[in-house]
Protein backbone atom coordinates (compact mmCIF):
# COMPACT_ATOMS: atom_id res chain seq x y z
CA UNK A 1 0.00 0.00 0.00
CA UNK A 2 1.25 3.43 -0.89
CA UNK A 3 1.95 5.21 2.42
CA UNK A 4 0.99 8.56 0.92
CA UNK A 5 -2.35 7.21 -0.17
CA UNK A 6 -2.83 5.62 3.23
CA UNK A 7 -2.06 8.91 4.95
CA UNK A 8 -4.36 10.78 2.65
CA UNK A 9 -7.13 8.30 3.41
CA UNK A 10 -6.53 8.73 7.14
CA UNK A 11 -6.63 12.46 6.80
CA UNK A 12 -9.84 12.39 4.80
CA UNK A 13 -11.35 10.06 7.37
CA UNK A 14 -10.44 12.49 10.16
CA UNK A 15 -11.90 15.37 8.23
CA UNK A 16 -15.06 13.40 7.56
CA UNK A 17 -15.42 12.77 11.26
CA UNK A 18 -14.77 16.37 12.17
CA UNK A 19 -16.86 18.06 9.52
CA UNK A 20 -20.17 17.31 11.25
CA UNK A 21 -18.67 18.68 14.44
CA UNK A 22 -17.60 21.77 12.58
CA UNK A 23 -21.09 22.05 11.20
CA UNK A 24 -22.60 21.79 14.69
CA UNK A 25 -20.16 24.35 16.00
CA UNK A 26 -21.24 26.74 13.29
CA UNK A 27 -24.92 25.99 13.79
CA UNK A 28 -25.86 28.65 16.29
CA UNK A 29 -29.45 29.43 17.27
CA UNK A 30 -31.06 31.13 14.35
CA UNK A 31 -31.79 34.80 14.79
CA UNK A 32 -35.04 34.38 12.92
CA UNK A 33 -37.77 33.49 15.39
CA UNK A 34 -39.86 30.47 14.51
CA UNK A 35 -43.30 31.34 13.24
CA UNK A 36 -46.45 31.19 15.24
CA UNK A 37 -48.06 27.79 14.93
CA UNK A 38 -51.73 28.59 14.21
CA UNK A 39 -52.95 25.47 16.00
CA UNK A 40 -50.90 26.30 19.08
CA UNK A 41 -52.22 29.85 19.00
CA UNK A 42 -55.76 28.54 18.77
CA UNK A 43 -55.18 26.44 21.91
CA UNK A 44 -53.68 29.43 23.74
CA UNK A 45 -56.46 31.80 22.71
CA UNK A 46 -59.14 29.24 23.57
CA UNK A 47 -57.73 29.06 27.07
CA UNK A 48 -57.47 32.85 27.38
CA UNK A 49 -61.02 33.40 26.13
CA UNK A 50 -62.40 30.77 28.49
CA UNK A 51 -60.96 32.55 31.54
CA UNK A 52 -61.49 36.14 30.45
CA UNK A 53 -65.15 35.67 29.57
CA UNK A 54 -66.01 34.02 32.88
CA UNK A 55 -68.00 36.45 35.04
CA UNK A 56 -66.90 34.72 38.24
CA UNK A 57 -64.20 32.27 39.09
CA UNK A 58 -61.80 31.14 41.77
CA UNK A 59 -58.47 29.39 41.42
CA UNK A 60 -55.56 28.29 43.57
CA UNK A 61 -52.05 29.18 42.56
CA UNK A 62 -48.86 27.64 43.90
CA UNK A 63 -45.94 29.57 42.56
CA UNK A 64 -42.19 29.98 42.86
CA UNK A 65 -39.58 32.26 41.40
CA UNK A 66 -35.82 32.64 41.21
CA UNK A 67 -34.35 35.52 43.15
CA UNK A 68 -30.91 36.15 41.68
CA UNK A 69 -28.49 37.15 44.41
CA UNK A 70 -25.58 39.52 43.90
CA UNK A 71 -23.29 36.50 43.90
CA UNK A 72 -25.17 35.15 40.90
CA UNK A 73 -26.70 32.39 42.99
CA UNK A 74 -30.33 31.70 42.27
CA UNK A 75 -32.54 31.14 45.29
CA UNK A 76 -36.15 30.10 44.92
CA UNK A 77 -38.95 31.60 46.97
CA UNK A 78 -42.56 30.59 46.78
CA UNK A 79 -46.10 31.38 47.74
CA UNK A 80 -49.66 30.20 47.46
CA UNK A 81 -52.54 32.37 46.35
CA UNK A 82 -56.26 31.83 46.53
CA UNK A 83 -57.88 34.12 43.96
CA UNK A 84 -61.54 35.09 43.67
CA UNK A 85 -62.84 37.20 40.79
CA UNK A 86 -66.33 38.63 40.46
CA UNK A 87 -66.50 40.82 37.41
CA UNK A 88 -66.80 43.60 36.72
CA UNK A 89 -65.37 45.19 39.86
CA UNK A 90 -64.48 42.68 42.57
CA UNK A 91 -61.31 40.78 43.30
CA UNK A 92 -59.82 39.06 46.31
CA UNK A 93 -56.44 37.38 46.60
CA UNK A 94 -55.30 35.61 49.76
CA UNK A 95 -51.54 35.17 49.81
CA UNK A 96 -49.23 33.09 51.95
CA UNK A 97 -45.56 33.47 51.22
CA UNK A 98 -43.00 30.73 51.75
CA UNK A 99 -41.78 32.43 54.95
CA UNK A 100 -45.30 32.29 56.40
CA UNK A 101 -46.17 35.95 55.85
CA UNK A 102 -49.82 36.35 54.99
CA UNK A 103 -51.58 39.16 53.18
CA UNK A 104 -54.82 39.94 51.38
CA UNK A 105 -55.64 42.09 48.38
CA UNK A 106 -59.24 43.23 48.00
CA UNK A 107 -60.88 45.24 45.24
CA UNK A 108 -64.40 46.15 46.30
CA UNK A 109 -65.46 48.26 43.35
CA UNK A 110 -64.56 51.52 45.09
CA UNK A 111 -61.20 50.93 46.68
CA UNK A 112 -58.20 48.71 46.39
CA UNK A 113 -56.96 47.48 49.74
CA UNK A 114 -53.78 45.61 50.57
CA UNK A 115 -53.64 44.19 54.08
CA UNK A 116 -50.50 42.69 55.59
CA UNK A 117 -51.64 40.37 58.34
CA UNK A 118 -48.13 39.84 59.64
CA UNK A 119 -47.42 43.52 60.27
CA UNK A 120 -51.10 44.40 60.86
CA UNK A 121 -51.03 47.28 58.42
CA UNK A 122 -53.12 48.08 55.40
CA UNK A 123 -53.05 50.56 52.54
CA UNK A 124 -55.92 51.81 50.42
CA UNK A 125 -56.18 53.40 47.02
CA UNK A 126 -59.44 54.64 45.50
CA UNK A 127 -60.19 52.82 42.28
CA UNK A 128 -63.77 53.07 41.08
CA UNK A 129 -63.81 50.87 38.02
CA UNK A 130 -63.32 47.39 36.75
CA UNK A 131 -61.07 44.63 37.93
CA UNK A 132 -58.95 45.35 34.86
CA UNK A 133 -58.37 48.94 35.90
CA UNK A 134 -57.70 47.95 39.50
CA UNK A 135 -55.12 45.36 38.45
CA UNK A 136 -53.33 47.70 36.10
CA UNK A 137 -53.33 50.38 38.78
CA UNK A 138 -52.02 47.93 41.38
CA UNK A 139 -49.24 46.50 39.22
CA UNK A 140 -48.49 49.33 36.83
CA UNK A 141 -48.80 52.37 39.09
CA UNK A 142 -48.44 51.14 42.64
CA UNK A 143 -45.69 48.68 41.57
CA UNK A 144 -47.12 45.95 43.71
CA UNK A 145 -46.69 42.24 43.06
CA UNK A 146 -49.52 40.35 41.42
CA UNK A 147 -48.03 37.39 39.54
CA UNK A 148 -49.87 36.36 36.36
CA UNK A 149 -51.92 39.53 36.65
CA UNK A 150 -52.72 39.39 32.93
CA UNK A 151 -54.52 36.09 33.51
CA UNK A 152 -57.15 37.95 35.55
CA UNK A 153 -57.90 40.58 32.92
CA UNK A 154 -60.90 40.51 30.62
CA UNK A 155 -58.39 41.48 27.93
CA UNK A 156 -56.15 38.45 28.49
CA UNK A 157 -56.56 37.14 24.91
CA UNK A 158 -55.53 40.51 23.50
CA UNK A 159 -52.59 40.71 25.92
CA UNK A 160 -51.29 37.37 24.62
CA UNK A 161 -52.01 38.20 21.01
CA UNK A 162 -50.13 41.47 21.31
CA UNK A 163 -47.06 40.00 22.97
CA UNK A 164 -46.49 36.56 21.49
CA UNK A 165 -43.97 36.65 18.65
CA UNK A 166 -43.41 32.92 18.31
CA UNK A 167 -45.42 29.94 19.48
CA UNK A 168 -44.95 26.21 19.06
CA UNK A 169 -46.65 23.05 20.18
CA UNK A 170 -44.24 20.97 22.26
CA UNK A 171 -46.08 17.81 23.22
CA UNK A 172 -49.08 16.30 24.88
CA UNK A 173 -48.48 15.56 28.53
CA UNK A 174 -50.20 15.12 31.89
CA UNK A 175 -50.13 17.88 34.51
CA UNK A 176 -51.89 17.45 37.84
CA UNK A 177 -53.76 14.47 36.43
CA UNK A 178 -55.09 16.44 33.46
CA UNK A 179 -54.17 15.75 29.87
CA UNK A 180 -52.61 18.95 28.59
CA UNK A 181 -51.10 20.54 25.51
CA UNK A 182 -47.65 21.87 26.23
CA UNK A 183 -46.94 25.11 24.37
CA UNK A 184 -43.76 27.16 24.15
CA UNK A 185 -44.00 30.87 23.37
CA UNK A 186 -41.56 33.71 22.91
CA UNK A 187 -42.15 37.42 23.43
CA UNK A 188 -39.75 40.32 23.21
CA UNK A 189 -38.98 40.21 26.93
CA UNK A 190 -39.77 36.70 28.09
CA UNK A 191 -40.10 33.11 26.96
CA UNK A 192 -42.99 31.23 28.49
CA UNK A 193 -44.43 27.77 28.48
CA UNK A 194 -48.06 26.97 29.11
CA UNK A 195 -49.83 23.70 29.79
CA UNK A 196 -53.46 23.90 28.69
CA UNK A 197 -55.99 21.21 29.47
CA UNK A 198 -57.34 19.36 26.45
CA UNK A 199 -61.04 19.13 25.87
CA UNK A 200 -64.04 21.31 26.60
CA UNK A 201 -62.41 23.09 29.51
CA UNK A 202 -59.18 24.58 28.20
CA UNK A 203 -57.82 25.52 31.60
CA UNK A 204 -54.31 26.72 32.28
CA UNK A 205 -52.63 24.31 34.69
CA UNK A 206 -49.01 25.29 34.61
CA UNK A 207 -46.92 28.26 33.47
CA UNK A 208 -43.19 28.86 33.38
CA UNK A 209 -41.90 32.29 32.47
CA UNK A 210 -38.21 32.81 31.73
CA UNK A 211 -36.91 36.37 31.94
CA UNK A 212 -34.40 35.79 29.21
CA UNK A 213 -33.04 39.33 29.07
CA UNK A 214 -32.24 39.43 32.77
CA UNK A 215 -28.95 38.36 34.29
CA UNK A 216 -28.98 34.61 34.97
CA UNK A 217 -32.36 34.33 33.20
CA UNK A 218 -34.48 33.77 36.30
CA UNK A 219 -37.76 31.90 36.05
CA UNK A 220 -41.20 32.19 37.52
CA UNK A 221 -43.44 29.13 37.64
CA UNK A 222 -47.01 28.56 38.77
CA UNK A 223 -49.32 25.58 39.10
CA UNK A 224 -53.00 26.47 38.88
CA UNK A 225 -55.53 24.14 40.43
CA UNK A 226 -59.10 23.96 41.73
CA UNK A 227 -60.50 26.14 38.97
CA UNK A 228 -64.11 26.92 39.85
CA UNK A 229 -66.32 28.95 37.54
CA UNK A 230 -69.34 28.82 39.84
CA UNK A 231 -67.82 29.76 43.17
CA UNK A 232 -70.06 30.72 46.08
CA UNK A 233 -68.98 34.34 46.42
CA UNK A 234 -70.39 36.68 49.03
CA UNK A 235 -70.14 40.45 49.47
CA UNK A 236 -68.30 39.85 52.71
CA UNK A 237 -65.38 38.34 50.80
CA UNK A 238 -64.90 41.63 49.00
CA UNK A 239 -65.36 43.82 52.07
CA UNK A 240 -62.48 44.93 54.21
CA UNK A 241 -62.93 45.71 57.88
CA UNK A 242 -59.64 46.70 59.51
CA UNK A 243 -58.92 44.24 62.32
CA UNK A 244 -58.45 45.69 65.79
CA UNK A 245 -54.93 46.93 66.33
CA UNK A 246 -54.15 47.39 62.64
CA UNK A 247 -52.85 50.67 61.25
CA UNK A 248 -53.36 52.30 57.88
CA UNK A 249 -50.22 53.14 55.96
CA UNK A 250 -49.55 54.46 52.48
CA UNK A 251 -48.52 52.74 49.31
CA UNK A 252 -44.93 53.69 48.59
CA UNK A 253 -46.04 55.07 45.23
CA UNK A 254 -48.32 57.49 47.10
CA UNK A 255 -45.66 58.43 49.60
CA UNK A 256 -44.68 62.06 49.64
CA UNK A 257 -40.95 61.79 49.65
CA UNK A 258 -38.27 64.44 49.74
CA UNK A 259 -35.56 64.44 47.11
CA UNK A 260 -33.13 61.69 48.08
CA UNK A 261 -29.70 62.82 49.15
CA UNK A 262 -26.49 60.89 49.40
CA UNK A 263 -25.89 59.38 52.78
CA UNK A 264 -23.34 61.58 54.43
CA UNK A 265 -21.45 60.65 57.58
CA UNK A 266 -22.78 62.56 60.52
CA UNK A 267 -20.96 63.32 63.70
CA UNK A 268 -22.62 62.82 66.97
CA UNK A 269 -20.92 63.98 70.09
CA UNK A 270 -21.56 62.81 73.56
CA UNK A 271 -21.86 59.35 74.95
CA UNK A 272 -21.37 57.70 78.25
CA UNK A 273 -18.31 58.81 80.22
Amino acid sequence: MNPDKSMLRTHLFCMALLLPAFGIAQEQPSAAAPPIDPEAMEILQKMANYVSKAPNFSVNMRAGYDAVQDSGQKVEFGETRRIFVRRPGHLRAEIEESNGDRSVIIVDGKELIAFDETHKVYAKSPIAGTVDQAIMHFVGELKMRLPLAALLLSTFPAELDRRVQALEFVEETTILGKRCDHLAARTEDVDFQAWVEKGDKPLLHRVIITYKNEASAPQFWAQLSDWNFKPALTDKQFTFAPPAGSNQIQFAAHMIRPAPADAAPQQKTGGKP
Binding site: A67, V68, Q73, R162, I256, G271
Partner: protein
Protein backbone atom coordinates in the same frame (compact mmCIF):
# COMPACT_ATOMS: atom_id res chain seq x y z
CA UNK B 1 7.07 12.00 2.75
CA UNK B 2 6.96 15.75 3.01
CA UNK B 3 3.37 15.70 1.82
CA UNK B 4 2.58 13.12 4.50
CA UNK B 5 3.89 15.32 7.29
CA UNK B 6 2.14 18.32 5.86
CA UNK B 7 -1.16 16.48 5.81
CA UNK B 8 -0.60 15.20 9.34
CA UNK B 9 0.14 18.68 10.64
CA UNK B 10 -2.89 20.05 8.80
CA UNK B 11 -5.11 17.35 10.33
CA UNK B 12 -3.85 18.04 13.83
CA UNK B 13 -4.29 21.77 13.36
CA UNK B 14 -7.84 21.35 12.13
CA UNK B 15 -8.66 19.14 15.11
CA UNK B 16 -7.17 21.71 17.45
CA UNK B 17 -9.07 24.58 15.82
CA UNK B 18 -12.40 22.75 15.86
CA UNK B 19 -12.02 21.70 19.47
CA UNK B 20 -10.88 25.15 20.54
CA UNK B 21 -14.02 26.90 19.22
CA UNK B 22 -16.44 25.33 21.72
CA UNK B 23 -13.93 25.83 24.54
CA UNK B 24 -13.77 29.54 23.80
CA UNK B 25 -17.54 29.68 23.79
CA UNK B 26 -17.71 27.99 27.17
CA UNK B 27 -15.19 30.50 28.52
CA UNK B 28 -17.23 33.35 27.14
CA UNK B 29 -20.41 32.08 28.74
CA UNK B 30 -18.65 31.47 32.03
CA UNK B 31 -17.18 34.94 32.05
CA UNK B 32 -20.43 36.65 32.86
CA UNK B 33 -21.02 34.49 35.87
CA UNK B 34 -17.47 34.94 37.13
CA UNK B 35 -17.67 38.69 36.89
CA UNK B 36 -20.95 38.73 38.77
CA UNK B 37 -19.67 36.57 41.57
CA UNK B 38 -16.55 38.69 41.68
CA UNK B 39 -18.74 41.64 42.48
CA UNK B 40 -19.27 40.33 45.93
CA UNK B 41 -22.49 39.10 47.38
CA UNK B 42 -24.50 40.98 49.88
CA UNK B 43 -24.11 40.09 53.48
CA UNK B 44 -27.02 39.06 55.60
CA UNK B 45 -30.08 37.33 54.24
CA UNK B 46 -31.02 36.44 50.74
CA UNK B 47 -32.85 38.92 48.62
CA UNK B 48 -36.41 37.82 47.91
CA UNK B 49 -36.93 40.17 45.01
CA UNK B 50 -35.94 40.25 41.39
CA UNK B 51 -37.40 40.45 37.95
CA UNK B 52 -38.94 36.98 38.17
CA UNK B 53 -40.75 37.76 41.42
CA UNK B 54 -43.30 39.85 39.55
CA UNK B 55 -44.50 36.91 37.49
CA UNK B 56 -45.43 39.21 34.62
CA UNK B 57 -45.51 38.36 30.95
CA UNK B 58 -43.05 41.17 30.32
CA UNK B 59 -39.93 42.61 31.86
CA UNK B 60 -39.04 46.25 31.61
CA UNK B 61 -35.48 46.11 32.81
CA UNK B 62 -32.87 45.59 30.18
CA UNK B 63 -30.29 42.86 30.23
CA UNK B 64 -26.76 43.52 31.27
CA UNK B 65 -27.29 42.92 34.92
CA UNK B 66 -24.31 44.22 36.84
CA UNK B 67 -24.06 47.74 35.54
CA UNK B 68 -27.68 48.46 35.92
CA UNK B 69 -27.92 46.87 39.32
CA UNK B 70 -25.02 48.88 40.69
CA UNK B 71 -26.34 52.10 39.21
CA UNK B 72 -29.60 51.51 40.96
CA UNK B 73 -28.11 51.15 44.40
CA UNK B 74 -28.22 54.11 46.68
CA UNK B 75 -31.87 54.54 47.27
CA UNK B 76 -32.43 57.58 45.16
CA UNK B 77 -33.11 55.77 41.95
CA UNK B 78 -35.87 53.79 43.56
CA UNK B 79 -37.94 56.93 43.69
CA UNK B 80 -37.60 57.57 40.02
CA UNK B 81 -38.07 53.89 39.33
CA UNK B 82 -41.43 53.92 41.00
CA UNK B 83 -42.40 56.57 38.56
CA UNK B 84 -41.42 54.26 35.80
CA UNK B 85 -39.02 56.49 33.94
CA UNK B 86 -35.68 54.82 34.58
CA UNK B 87 -37.23 51.44 35.00
CA UNK B 88 -38.27 51.56 31.40
CA UNK B 89 -34.67 51.46 30.22
CA UNK B 90 -34.29 48.95 27.48
CA UNK B 91 -37.92 48.76 26.54
CA UNK B 92 -39.45 49.86 23.33
CA UNK B 93 -39.94 53.57 22.88
CA UNK B 94 -43.68 53.68 23.21
CA UNK B 95 -43.81 51.94 26.53
CA UNK B 96 -40.97 54.04 27.85
CA UNK B 97 -42.73 57.26 26.98
CA UNK B 98 -45.95 56.08 28.53
CA UNK B 99 -44.32 55.03 31.77
CA UNK B 100 -42.26 58.19 31.91
CA UNK B 101 -45.41 60.23 31.51
CA UNK B 102 -47.06 58.20 34.20
CA UNK B 103 -44.09 58.92 36.43
CA UNK B 104 -44.47 62.64 35.85
CA UNK B 105 -48.14 62.42 36.72
CA UNK B 106 -47.31 60.51 39.88
CA UNK B 107 -44.78 63.16 40.85
CA UNK B 108 -47.27 65.94 40.17
CA UNK B 109 -49.89 64.11 42.19
CA UNK B 110 -47.40 63.65 44.94
CA UNK B 111 -46.40 67.29 45.09
CA UNK B 112 -50.02 68.38 44.98
CA UNK B 113 -50.81 66.05 47.81
CA UNK B 114 -47.75 67.38 49.63
CA UNK B 115 -48.92 70.96 49.22
CA UNK B 116 -52.40 70.04 50.38
CA UNK B 117 -51.06 68.17 53.37
CA UNK B 118 -48.82 71.10 54.24
CA UNK B 119 -51.76 73.50 53.90
CA UNK B 120 -53.87 71.33 56.13
CA UNK B 121 -51.09 71.15 58.70
CA UNK B 122 -50.73 74.92 58.66
CA UNK B 123 -54.47 75.38 59.07
CA UNK B 124 -54.53 72.93 61.91
CA UNK B 125 -51.63 74.58 63.71
CA UNK B 126 -53.11 78.04 63.09
CA UNK B 127 -56.44 76.98 64.50
CA UNK B 128 -54.72 75.31 67.38
CA UNK B 129 -52.87 78.54 68.18
CA UNK B 130 -56.16 80.48 67.93
CA UNK B 131 -57.76 78.05 70.33
CA UNK B 132 -54.76 78.36 72.60
CA UNK B 133 -54.90 82.18 72.64
CA UNK B 134 -58.65 82.13 73.25
CA UNK B 135 -58.20 79.73 76.12
CA UNK B 136 -55.42 81.84 77.64
CA UNK B 137 -57.56 84.97 77.24
CA UNK B 138 -60.42 83.28 79.03
CA UNK B 139 -58.11 82.09 81.78
CA UNK B 140 -56.81 85.63 82.15
CA UNK B 141 -60.35 86.99 82.46
CA UNK B 142 -61.17 84.36 85.03
CA UNK B 143 -58.07 85.32 87.02
CA UNK B 144 -59.05 89.00 86.92
CA UNK B 145 -62.57 88.17 88.07
CA UNK B 146 -61.25 85.98 90.88
CA UNK B 147 -58.85 88.75 91.90
CA UNK B 148 -61.67 91.32 91.99
CA UNK B 149 -63.78 88.96 94.01
CA UNK B 150 -60.96 88.37 96.52
CA UNK B 151 -60.43 92.09 96.81
CA UNK B 152 -64.13 92.62 97.48
CA UNK B 153 -64.10 89.90 100.11
CA UNK B 154 -61.06 91.42 101.83
CA UNK B 155 -62.66 94.87 101.88
CA UNK B 156 -65.80 93.37 103.24
CA UNK B 157 -63.90 91.58 106.00
CA UNK B 158 -61.93 94.73 106.90
CA UNK B 159 -65.19 96.65 107.08
CA UNK B 160 -66.59 94.01 109.34
CA UNK B 161 -63.59 94.25 111.71
CA UNK B 162 -63.76 98.05 111.82
CA UNK B 163 -67.41 98.08 112.69
CA UNK B 164 -67.27 95.60 115.53
CA UNK B 165 -68.85 98.16 117.82
CA UNK B 166 -71.92 98.47 115.69
CA UNK B 167 -74.89 96.32 116.40
CA UNK B 168 -75.14 92.71 115.29
CA UNK B 169 -78.17 93.63 113.29
CA UNK B 170 -76.24 96.13 111.24
CA UNK B 171 -73.37 93.74 110.85
CA UNK B 172 -75.66 91.01 109.72
CA UNK B 173 -77.28 93.42 107.32
CA UNK B 174 -73.89 94.41 105.95
CA UNK B 175 -72.81 90.82 105.75
CA UNK B 176 -75.98 89.93 103.96
CA UNK B 177 -75.46 92.81 101.59
CA UNK B 178 -71.86 91.83 101.07
CA UNK B 179 -72.83 88.20 100.44
CA UNK B 180 -75.60 89.34 98.16
CA UNK B 181 -73.19 91.54 96.19
CA UNK B 182 -70.67 88.74 96.11
CA UNK B 183 -73.26 86.29 94.83
CA UNK B 184 -74.39 88.77 92.23
CA UNK B 185 -70.85 89.36 91.10
CA UNK B 186 -70.18 85.62 90.99
CA UNK B 187 -73.37 85.01 89.02
CA UNK B 188 -72.53 87.77 86.59
CA UNK B 189 -69.03 86.42 86.29
CA UNK B 190 -70.31 82.91 85.61
CA UNK B 191 -72.83 84.20 83.10
CA UNK B 192 -70.14 86.16 81.28
CA UNK B 193 -67.85 83.17 81.27
CA UNK B 194 -70.61 80.89 79.95
CA UNK B 195 -71.38 83.38 77.21
CA UNK B 196 -67.73 83.54 76.30
CA UNK B 197 -67.47 79.77 76.33
CA UNK B 198 -70.54 79.45 74.13
CA UNK B 199 -69.15 82.01 71.73
CA UNK B 200 -65.79 80.28 71.71
CA UNK B 201 -67.40 76.88 71.13
CA UNK B 202 -69.45 78.32 68.31
CA UNK B 203 -66.35 79.82 66.73
CA UNK B 204 -64.48 76.54 67.15
CA UNK B 205 -67.34 74.62 65.58
CA UNK B 206 -67.43 77.01 62.67
CA UNK B 207 -63.68 76.78 62.34
CA UNK B 208 -63.75 72.98 62.47
CA UNK B 209 -66.58 72.86 59.96
CA UNK B 210 -64.66 75.13 57.63
CA UNK B 211 -61.57 72.98 58.03
CA UNK B 212 -63.54 69.79 57.38
CA UNK B 213 -65.09 71.34 54.31
CA UNK B 214 -61.67 72.39 53.07
CA UNK B 215 -60.21 68.96 53.77
CA UNK B 216 -63.12 67.28 52.04
CA UNK B 217 -62.71 69.53 49.02
CA UNK B 218 -58.97 68.85 49.02
CA UNK B 219 -59.47 65.10 49.15
CA UNK B 220 -62.27 65.23 46.60
CA UNK B 221 -60.02 67.20 44.29
CA UNK B 222 -57.16 64.82 45.01
CA UNK B 223 -59.38 61.76 44.46
CA UNK B 224 -60.80 63.23 41.30
CA UNK B 225 -57.34 64.04 39.97
CA UNK B 226 -56.06 60.61 40.97
CA UNK B 227 -59.00 59.01 39.20
CA UNK B 228 -58.28 61.01 36.07
CA UNK B 229 -54.62 60.06 36.32
CA UNK B 230 -55.54 56.40 36.63
CA UNK B 231 -57.82 56.59 33.63
CA UNK B 232 -55.00 58.23 31.67
CA UNK B 233 -52.61 55.55 32.90
CA UNK B 234 -55.02 52.80 31.90
CA UNK B 235 -55.50 54.35 28.47
CA UNK B 236 -51.74 54.74 28.04
CA UNK B 237 -50.65 51.39 29.40
CA UNK B 238 -53.36 49.19 27.95
CA UNK B 239 -51.06 48.74 24.96
CA UNK B 240 -47.84 48.76 26.96
CA UNK B 241 -45.90 46.32 29.12
CA UNK B 242 -47.67 47.40 32.28
CA UNK B 243 -46.88 44.21 34.18
CA UNK B 244 -43.12 44.43 33.79
CA UNK B 245 -42.62 44.74 37.50
CA UNK B 246 -38.98 44.88 38.47
CA UNK B 247 -38.31 43.95 42.05
CA UNK B 248 -34.65 44.81 42.44
CA UNK B 249 -33.78 45.72 45.99
CA UNK B 250 -30.20 46.89 45.84
CA UNK B 251 -31.32 50.14 47.41
CA UNK B 252 -32.36 48.21 50.48
CA UNK B 253 -28.94 46.62 50.79
CA UNK B 254 -27.22 50.00 50.49
CA UNK B 255 -29.29 51.45 53.29
CA UNK B 256 -28.99 48.36 55.44
CA UNK B 257 -25.22 48.65 55.04
CA UNK B 258 -25.51 52.11 56.60
CA UNK B 259 -27.45 50.59 59.45
CA UNK B 260 -24.71 48.03 60.00
CA UNK B 261 -22.19 50.85 60.37
CA UNK B 262 -24.39 52.45 62.99
CA UNK B 263 -24.61 49.18 64.85
CA UNK B 264 -20.85 48.67 64.75
CA UNK B 265 -20.18 52.16 66.01
CA UNK B 266 -22.55 51.62 68.88
CA UNK B 267 -20.81 48.39 69.86
CA UNK B 268 -17.42 50.04 69.69
CA UNK B 269 -18.49 52.91 71.90
CA UNK B 270 -20.04 50.51 74.38
CA UNK B 271 -17.02 48.21 74.49
CA UNK B 272 -14.54 51.01 75.02
CA UNK B 273 -14.25 52.49 78.48
CA UNK B 274 -13.37 56.10 77.82
CA UNK B 275 -13.25 58.56 80.61
CA UNK B 276 -14.18 61.45 78.38
CA UNK B 277 -17.03 61.92 75.97
CA UNK B 278 -17.02 59.67 72.91
CA UNK B 279 -17.46 60.81 69.33
CA UNK B 280 -19.60 58.40 67.32
CA UNK B 281 -19.42 58.70 63.56
CA UNK B 282 -22.06 56.92 61.56
CA UNK B 283 -23.70 56.99 58.17
CA UNK B 284 -27.29 58.05 58.29
CA UNK B 285 -29.66 56.51 55.76
CA UNK B 286 -30.45 58.80 52.88
CA UNK B 287 -33.67 60.74 53.15
CA UNK B 288 -36.32 58.96 51.15
CA UNK B 289 -34.48 55.63 51.20
CA UNK B 290 -36.27 52.39 51.91
CA UNK B 291 -35.36 49.62 54.30
CA UNK B 292 -37.13 46.34 54.88
CA UNK B 293 -35.95 46.02 58.46
CA UNK B 294 -35.21 48.70 61.00
CA UNK B 295 -31.80 48.91 62.66
CA UNK B 296 -33.30 49.10 66.15
CA UNK B 297 -36.42 48.48 68.19
CA UNK B 298 -38.07 51.73 67.12
CA UNK B 299 -39.82 54.31 69.23
CA UNK B 300 -43.39 54.72 67.99
CA UNK B 301 -44.80 58.25 67.83
CA UNK B 302 -48.18 59.22 66.43
CA UNK B 303 -48.30 62.75 65.01
CA UNK B 304 -51.55 64.00 63.50
CA UNK B 305 -52.71 60.42 63.07
CA UNK B 306 -49.57 59.37 61.24
CA UNK B 307 -47.39 56.77 62.89
CA UNK B 308 -43.69 57.56 62.89
CA UNK B 309 -41.00 55.13 63.93
CA UNK B 310 -37.65 56.44 65.04
CA UNK B 311 -34.23 54.96 65.60
CA UNK B 312 -31.98 57.52 67.21
CA UNK B 313 -32.31 60.58 64.96
CA UNK B 314 -33.69 58.74 61.95
CA UNK B 315 -37.43 58.77 61.44
CA UNK B 316 -39.38 56.31 59.32
CA UNK B 317 -42.87 55.82 57.93
CA UNK B 318 -44.17 52.35 57.18
CA UNK B 319 -45.24 51.92 53.56
CA UNK B 320 -46.53 49.22 51.24
CA UNK B 321 -43.95 48.59 48.57
CA UNK B 322 -43.61 45.81 46.00
CA UNK B 323 -44.50 42.60 47.72
CA UNK B 324 -44.94 43.86 51.26
CA UNK B 325 -44.19 46.30 54.02
CA UNK B 326 -41.10 48.51 53.98
CA UNK B 327 -39.88 51.59 55.85
CA UNK B 328 -39.03 54.88 54.24
CA UNK B 329 -36.76 57.46 55.84
CA UNK B 330 -38.67 60.71 56.35
CA UNK B 331 -38.07 64.10 57.87
CA UNK B 332 -38.54 64.46 61.58
CA UNK B 333 -42.06 65.63 62.42
CA UNK B 334 -42.22 69.25 63.64
CA UNK B 335 -41.68 69.59 67.35
CA UNK B 336 -39.85 66.27 67.77
Amino acid sequence: MKLRYTLLVASLLSVFVLLAVPVQEVDARGGGGASRSGGGGGGGGFSRSGSASGGGFSSRSSGGGGGQRSSMSGGGQRSSMSGGGQKAAGTSGGGQQASSMSGQRAQQGSSQASAQASQRQQQTSSQASQKSSQASSQASQRQQQASTQQSTNQQSRQGQQQTTQQGRQEQQTQSQQARSEQQTQTQESHQTQQDQNKQSQSENQQSRQTQQDQNREDWQDHGSEAQEDRQDFYDDEVDGDWDGYYGDDDWEEAVVAGAVIVGTAAVVSAAATPTTSTTVVYAQPAMGAYVTTLPCAPVKTVVNGITFLSCDTTWYNQVYSGGGVAYVVVTRPPGY
